[in-house]
Symmetry: C2
Subunit: 147 residues, 2 copies
């Protein structure tokens, strides 16, 4: 863990550091990315987990519109740019060792590309997995050009 995050462990509430110091200290993985969890600010639902690089995190903090790094497309991904279902940032937080982000967001409609509200719809137990939610919107409609 970086010295910076180590020093914040025992820091009292209200302690501040410049953002650039924090961005330099984040434990970006070998691809320059960090996982970001999106949680609906008012209901507490965990909607999805995606990845951010430094540019997408900086853009998200600057604009208030959540921007991820798409690993499959290899480019910045402004959530909702193809589906219309945007995420607006309420608050961003880093964890104790500076390697995970938690985003409190306002997500209108489905966060998941399947049209479901949340990406976490496969419930597991010791014997089986069960799909436990239905799409709010059919994916064909979500990604239609007619939108």
């Amino acid at each position: 863990m970086s010295e910076l995050f180590k020093s914040l462990e025992s820091a009292s509430s209200g302690t501040r550091r410049p953002l650039t110091e924090i961005l330099d200290a984040i434990r970006w993985n070998e691809g320059g990315l960090i996982p970001a969890i999106a949680q609906q600010h008012d209901t507490g639902e965990v909607l999805m987990m995606a990845w951010m690089n430094r540019a997408s995190l900086q853009e998200t903090l600057d604009t208030g519109r959540v921007c991820y790094w798409s690993r499959s497309r290899g480019k910045l991904w402004r959530k909702g740019e193809s589906s219309g279902q945007e995420q607006h940032l309420k608050q961003a937080r880093l964890d104790c060792d500076g390697d995970t982000l938690l985003l409190s967001v306002d997500q209108t409609g489905p966060a998941c590309h399947t049209g479901r509200r949340s990406c976490f719809y496969v419930a597991l137990d010791a014997e089986q997995a069960t799909v436990d939610s239905e799409p709010m919107i059919p994916p064909s409609e979500l990604y239609s050009d007619k939108r």
Copy 2:
């Protein structure tokens, strides 16, 4: 994405698959791991993010006590084994592309090694980072042999 998770995208609620098929289809990373988000079941607080391998996920589902894979120690990590602050599983879920877990848990006391309830205590804005919570228990007490 695997054929299995692709097929579940359009599956209706209640569709089931055997756990072993799911474990075979999970997108374990190059280290054989998957990120697992722990959320307090009743308050919705996101407490931490850690990693699981197949053995730790299977153990967690079998026993109901959350077991991660410690990347720093290179071994199974039964949450609370040194701090006494255990996590009990209420429900586990996988996301749409089978590469992230969401665990609904019952966490007694702090989830964070700093003694804070949640690991996400560094709030970010466009200019700075601010520590915004205090430990519930001093870490010296959390890891004391006298416990």
